[in-house]
Amino acid sequence: MSSIPSSVVDADSECLIGGASEAFLRRRAFWNRVAAWLLFAAAAASVLVTIGIVYVLIRDSIPFFEQVPLSEFLTDTQWTPVFKNAHFGVMTLVSATLTVAGIALAVAIPAGLGLAIFLSEYANPKLREAVKPFLELLEGVPTVVYGFFALLFLTPMLQTVIPGLSGFNLLAPGLVMGIMILPYTASVSEDAMRSVPMGLREAGYALGFSRFRVAAQVVIPAALSGITAAFILGMSRAVGETMVVAIAAGQNPNFGFNPLEGAATITAYIVQMAMGDLPHGSIAYQSVFAAGLVLFLITLLFNLIGFYLRRRFREVY
C-alpha cells in the first residue's frame, strides 16, 4: 500500500497503517497468497487421485484387451485366467457380484426403510440421538471381522436350516453385507425423510392421516429420490465390498446366480490373484486390472446415479 500518502503515517517514523507496520503487512499479504495456493493445490491433488486410478486401470487393461477380444470378455461364461486354455468371461465374476449385492439389498431395503421410517417418523428425538451413534459403531466394524463371522458363524448356522448349503456360498456373505450396508442406507434415507418439510406432514395430519399413512403417502413419496439414492449408493458399496466375499464366498469362478453355492466375485478374484505371486506383465496380472476396470465402471455408474438423485432431492428441499 505504498500509494497511501505519507500524511496517514504515524509521527513515530515507523510506517504504520491502521496500527500495523508496512513490513508486517507485506509479509502477511505474502503468506495470504501462499496459503491460498497451497490449499488449492491440496484440493486439486484429489483430482489427481481419480486421474491416477483411471490411468492405471486403463494402462494395464489395454494389453489385456489386445489379447482378449471385448466380445469374448463380455459373453464367455468361463473365467479361467491361469489355465492353459484360458477363458476370460467377466460375466462369471459379475454374476456372483450381483447375486451377493442383490441378497444384501434384499436385506437392506426392507430393514433400512423400516428403520428409517421408525427413526424419522416414530422415534422421539432422544431415542434418535441414541440410535444414530450406534449405527455409526455398526458401520465401523472392520469388514474382515464380518467376513470371519460369515464364514465361521453364519454359514454353519444356516447349514442347519438349509442342508444343501456349501461351506463357501453367496448367501451368508450376502446377508452379512446387507447388515453392513444397513446403517448407511438407513441413515441416508432417514436424512432424506427428515428433510421433507414439516408443512407437508401437517397437511397430511390435518386430513386425519395416521402416522403410518403420513409416512407412506406423504413422506416417502416426497423423499423418494433421496431414498433411492441411499439404496443405489448402498448397492455400490456392496458391489465393491471385498473382504467378506473373499473370506466366505469362495474363489471358484462359477457363472450363475445360485446363492447356495460358492462363487468368486470381482473383488474376491482380485484378492485371490494378489495373494499369489503374479508375474508383472503376464495376462493374469493384466486380467486383474481388467476386472478392476469393470468394477470401477459399475460402481461409478451407481455412484453417479446416486449422486444425481441426491442432488436433485436436495434441490427440491
Binding site: L137, L152, P183
Partner: protein, 311 residues
C-alpha cells in the same frame, strides 16, 4: 335418519382410528425389531469372537510373538507394529492434505467449473471401492514409482482412501462455524489467511478431529488394498525403529520395510484350513474390533460434546 348416519359416521371413524393404531404399532415394532436384530448381531459378532479367541487373548505371548507355523505360538506383534507404523504414515499424509482441501473448498473456492469438478471428484472418490485404491497403488506406487510392498506404499494407499472422509469432515466442521465469528475476525482487520488460521481452524478442530478418527478407524480395519499391493502375512521381524539413541535420533528406514497388518493377519489365519488358526483369527478380530469401536466411540463422544457446547 340423521341420527343413524351420525352413528354410522362415529362407528366408521372409530374403525379408522383402530386401523391407524394397528398400522402405527406395526411400524414401530418393525423399527424396534430391526434395531434389536442389529444390536444382537453386533453383540453376537463380538461375543462369538471373544469366546473363540479367549484362550489366545488372555495369553500375553499372543501380543509379543511373531506369526508362526504353530498356532499356539503364533502372535500379532509384527501386525500391531505394522498397523501402527502404516497408520502413522497415513495420518501424516492424509490429515494435512484433507484438511487443506476441505478448507479450500469451503472457504476459498470460487463458484466455477473447476470447483464443481473438484467437488464431484471428492464425492465420487468417497464411493470408489477400497480395492480399487489397492490396484492404483499396485500399478503406480509399487511398479511405476518402485516403492515396493512397503510401509510407505501402504500408508500412502490408505491415506488416499480416507482423504474424502477427512475432506468432508473438514467441510462440515468449517461450515458449522457461525458467521459472527468470521465477521468479528474480519472486522478486526484480519486477512483471509489470518481468519482461517487464527479463528476458523481452531474452532473447527473438534469436528476435524472427529473425521480424522473415523477415517483412521476405517483405515486400520482395511485389508483389501493392502492385500492387493502384496503385503506379506508372515513377517518374523520388526522394522527398524523410527527413533534411535544416536544422532540424528530419527530414522526413516522403517518406511521401506516390508510389513504385515492386523486385518491381513486375520485374513491369513481365517483362510487356513486348521481350526487352531481360526482361534488366532478370532483373537485378532477382538483386538481389531476393540480398537475400531473405541476410535469410533471417541469420535462420537467428541461430536456429542461439541453439539452440547454449541447449544
Amino acid at each position: 335418519m340423521a341420527t343413524s348416519s351420525l352413528a354410522n359416521a362415529q362407528i366408521e371413524s372409530a374403525r379408522i382410528v383402530a386401523v391407524n393404531r394397528r398400522a402405527d404399532l406395526l411400524m414401530a415394532s418393525i423399527g424396534i425389531l430391526v434395531l434389536a436384530i442389529a444390536t444382537l448381531l453386533l453383540a453376537s459378532v463380538f461375543v462369538g469372537l471373544l469366546a473363540s479367541g479367549w484362550d489366545r487373548l488372555i495369553n500375553p505371548d499372543f501380543y509379543t510373538h511373531f506369526p508362526s507355523r504353530h498356532p499356539q505360538q503364533a502372535g500379532i506383534i509384527s501386525a500391531i507394529v505394522g498397523s501402527s507404523l502404516v497408520m502413522l504414515v497415513t495420518a501424516v499424509i492424509a490429515i494435512p492434505l484433507g484438511v487443506a482441501a476441505g478448507l479450500y473448498l469451503e472457504e476459498y473456492a470460487p463458484k466455477n467449473w473447476l470447483t464443481d469438478l473438484i467437488e464431484i471428484n471428492v464425492s465420487n472418490l468417497a464411493g470408489v471401492p477400497s480395492i480399487i485404491y489397492g490396484l492404483l497403488a499396485l500399478g503406480l506406487f509399487v511398479y511405476a514409482f518402485s516403492l515396493g510392498e512397503t510401509i510407505l506404499t501402504a500408508g500412502l494407499t490408505l491415506a488416499l482412501l480416507i482423504l474424502p472422509v477427512i475432506i468432508v469432515a473438514t467441510r462440515e466442521a468449517v461450515r458449522s462455524i457461525p458467521l459472527e465469528l468470521r465477521e468479528a475476525a474480519y472486522g478486526l482487520g484480519a486477512d483471509k489467511w489470518q481468519v482461517v488460521r487464527m479463528y476458523v481452524l481452531p474452532a473447527a478442530r473438534p469436528g476435524i478431529f472427529t473425521g480424522v478418527i473415523v477415517g483412521l478407524a476405517r483405515a486400520i480395519g482395511e485389508a483389501a488394498p493392502l492385500i492387493t499391493i502384496g503385503a506379506l502375512t508372515f513377517i518374523a521381524f520388526l522394522p527398524s525403529p523410527p527413533v534411535q539413541a544416536t544422532p540424528p535420533f530419527v530414522n526413516f528406514d522403517w518406511l521401506t520395510s516390508p510389513f504385515t497388518a492386523m486385518p491381513i493377519q486375520l485374513f491369513n489365519w481365517v483362510s487356513r484350513p486348521q481350526a487352531e488358526f481360526h482361534v488366532n483369527a478370532a483373537a485378532t478380530g477382538v483386538v481389531l474390533m476393540v480398537m475400531t469401536l473405541a476410535m469410533n466411540a471417541l469420535a462420537i463422544y467428541v461430536r456429542l460434546r461439541l453439539r452440547r457446547l454449541h447449544r
